[in-house]
Symmetry: none
Subunit: 259 residues, 2 copies
DNA sequence: TGCCGATGGTTCATTATCCGAACCCTTGGT
DNA sequence: ACCAAGGGTTCGGATAATGAACCATCGGCA
């Protein structure tokens, strides 16, 4: 691995639970030498990718990432496009919706929308890592990912979020086949108990899956009517999002015949 | 310069006018060897910081920056960043400073700092609504807001806080032109008699104005020295704040020539 | 058709750069 | 006064970055 990759990998240790990391912690987390980490963080700091707080000397992400994100949006307005789609889908279903995108080998939640219809709702946080095996979004992505990618994802230790989480690679592969034939993944209590979520894949211009669009509802609210209406609305929204970002579904994706 | 810095410097060539750059262009822009640029971009690509389009092989910023930006937002609410800027500016000028941010269609004061240098000082309260026409902060924001936003703001009844407050939309628009050419707004007794305040706009990552940074001093203390020193310090502080929150000024904003 | 220039991508010997064990300095707890 | 832990620094040896030259492909263009 090159020096640049190592330096950038340091940034992956930041998340919602760890917005600031000290030099020693970062050394332990990365397994690299302290001097190495220090030099890399110094370079990242000069570039504005991280900054150090004044009191404790914790590192945190710097302002430069905001600039880059704004430029990325200017070039590929996935987030701004998705916001409308998410809003409409939340309005239509009355439930929480969210978009997650593949970033390298991990799936990150990046945008969400709530519906004001009900007092109780599923809460979401942006920039969180989603597991492939334990979420409907993850399964929707895996179902349309390269075989090699699936192998790599399932080769890692599969943690059970709840008692409902599937962790046996064989069972997961069997379910992926179901997802492919339905064009949609579904998870009842697989990530958090009491949450029933549906997800459809989102495709890029090269017909590769780039992420997933999902609806998450409390199990208690999944009436027969919702059980029918949510998948229908989600399918439409997914197709719309894929289309609006210039993507197209692969030939074997079950197309909405009414489209 | 280290390898990491060089690699990251490649990202600086992306801007609103150049959202996609080819390998040869990037080589010319950076002055580095083509093989070097290629290797670095490959590493950045694996990390998700850039991606290559399928047709032409232009590089553009990748989805990973979105994740980092979301985390930065979560980690650094703009207020905590502004507190240091306000403190430094108060120390430097010896006067009261405050930050106001656009929230929807109204401007709210959100943070302030006092200087211990003088016994008399302008007092501030956080979370107060500032009028656009009657405060230097409001004028600084309006001067860089969308035309439609300005129209809406001036269409409302314009109350006079003091006898000095401008309330004629025509006169206000004329003054906004002055603010634009100076890059700074100024109000002598416009909100409260006896208060002379200066304000500069603060910009977000999308070059939109998001608020204003201001210095408020008693009229009696505005010596010729202060009349020169406060605007200079304020300009610097405004640029620093805009930068530290990842923002950038629009092209037509009068830049500090000594920067 | 073959030539031309421009582009993206690759190779490999040289050497600049990075690495890491060990060290220093400061802080906070006891 | 001591200790442990954190941030930061040093310097010779190991490694990874470098760049001139090369290949492959593409799109004009006579």
């Amino acid at each position: 691995m090159g020096t640049v990759s190592k330096a950038l990998s340091l940034l992956t240790y930041f998340n919602h639970g760890r917005t600031g990391i000290g030099l020693s912690d970062l050394t332990r987390l990365s397994g690299m030498n302290k001097a190495t980490v220090y030099r890399m963080m110094s370079e990242l700091q000069v570039a504005g990718f991280v900054e150090q707080t004044d009191g404790d000397r914790m590192y945190r992400l710097g302002p430069q990432v905001l600039r880059l994100a704004a430029l990325r949006e200017a070039a590929v307005p996935i987030l701004s496009v998705s916001r409308r789609v998410l809003r409409d889908l939340s309005d239509e279903t009355g439930e929480t919706t969210h978009l997650s995108l593949l970033q390298g080998s991990q799936l990150n939640s990046l945008s969400h929308a709530y519906s004001p219809r009900h007092a109780t709702k599923v809460m979401m946080e942006d920039a969180e890592v989603l597991t492939f095996h334990g979420t409907s979004s993850g399964m929707a992505v895996l179902a349309y990912a390269d075989p090699g990618f699936v192998d790599a994802a399932l080769a890692q230790p599969l943690q059970a979020h709840t008692s409902e989480t599937l962790t046996d690679p064989q069972e997961i592969r069997a379910q992926l086949a179901d997802v492919r034939s339905a064009g949609m993944a579904q998870s009842i209590g697989g990530f958090e108990a009491d949450v029933h979520s549906h997800a459809v894949p989102v495709f890029g211009p090269d017909r590769q899956v780039i992420g997933a669009l999902a609806v998450a509802a409390p199990v208690s609210r999944m009436t027969p009517e919702q059980t029918h209406g949510i998948p229908a609305a989600l399918r439409r929204a997914g197709a719309a999002l894929t289309h609006r970002i210039g993507g197209s579904a692969p030939a074997d994706y079950p197309q909405d015949s009414a489209a």
